[in-house]
Symmetry: D2
Subunit: 118 residues, 4 copies
């Protein structure tokens, strides 16, 4: 069904990446990588579902309801990534201390402010 | 490039729809249909871009910045659809008057509340 | 208790208004005016509660929880005002039709966009 | 003018606090306490301004614009408190390490999720 299509297509596009990321410089979220990819493929499927709804001229309010659901799914991914980032990058910087720790906190707060406003 | 791929793929999936929507029962946004489809395909491309970023283990904050941009793009689509909906469905119901007009307003306000909260 | 204090003070400030609004040019929300005033006085009380929490150096997370609650209360007032506005001003303009109707829809959508982003 | 009234009244209410907070158990934001109090008194003034607008039956859209401004001001306070919290409480917990650090991160992320949704 659609979900499978989505996964397959998503994979086809991502696959030909010729230079796999060096695992030694991987960021915090690597442990949950597959989970994030799965959620993002579902979000990609939601974007395609919205196109179908517009194509078939579905009722505006039903489309808006789907946009809200998709936005919520996106924000949930953002919250997961943020928690991973705070747990690893920010905590590591905090342990090392100094101006870098402060810079990391500022950078994270700015990213949060963009999420709150978006 | 990526945008083209996105368009092509998006089209491949949407195309096989066997029963084209009846133009006579089309909703308000039909006039801007191509514009909405274009924006939604770009959003689909952003969802795929996020997968690539996670796959390649890009820096968390950069991914969050992309999530914010994608959320903003989604909200902009929602605002466009909402304006179309108010201009057509709600205005039509208002002109006819009666309880249906009230119901349309309530329905639109509920959709807006979901957007504000999402 | 606090709620009473809030009400009394709020009233003291609002009362000396020398020129009461002309009821004939009143806007839609007049029917629910007392309800809105009550909710806004409670929000004013929440703003005072936040000051107390900062003054007494309460735990940051508890203060943030209160900020979220206050933001939700504000957004609920906004949704109520918006529904009133759509039901009256926008519906009236729709019935009269013409460019004024369009302008009212555009104005309402812009206000909604500000709420979604704020 | 209004701002002064607001400040004076806000101060009158906050002042009689009989038990000043013990500075030794103060939280991170103490350094910026006066700034936060000033901003929160201004927000309290905005809540009072909204009551006046409703009382005088101002135009709905103008009231909604003020609600958006007040929400933005509140979110800015929240972002400031959050940055202070991350810089102090979370960084301290990170340096000590162990399950408490993880719990602090989880708690902060939950608070951020509430802000994003509110």
């Amino acid at each position: 069904m659609t979900e499978d299509q989505t996964d397959r297509l998503g994979h086809d596009i991502v696959a030909p990446d010729p230079e796999p990321a060096d695992p030694h410089i991987g960021h915090a979220y690597i442990t949950a990588k597959d989970d994030y990819l799965k959620r993002l493929r579902r979000i990609e499927g939601q974007a395609r579902g919205l196109q179908r709804m517009v194509e078939e001229e579905k009722y505006c309010i039903d489309i808006l309801t789907q946009v809200s659901a998709m936005t919520k799914a996106l924000q949930a991914v953002a919250m997961g990534l943020l928690e991973d980032h705070l747990s690893h990058c920010v905590v590591d910087a905090a342990v090392r201390g100094g101006p870098e720790a402060e810079a990391k906190i500022k950078e994270a707060t700015d990213a949060i402010a963009r999420l709150v406003r978006s």
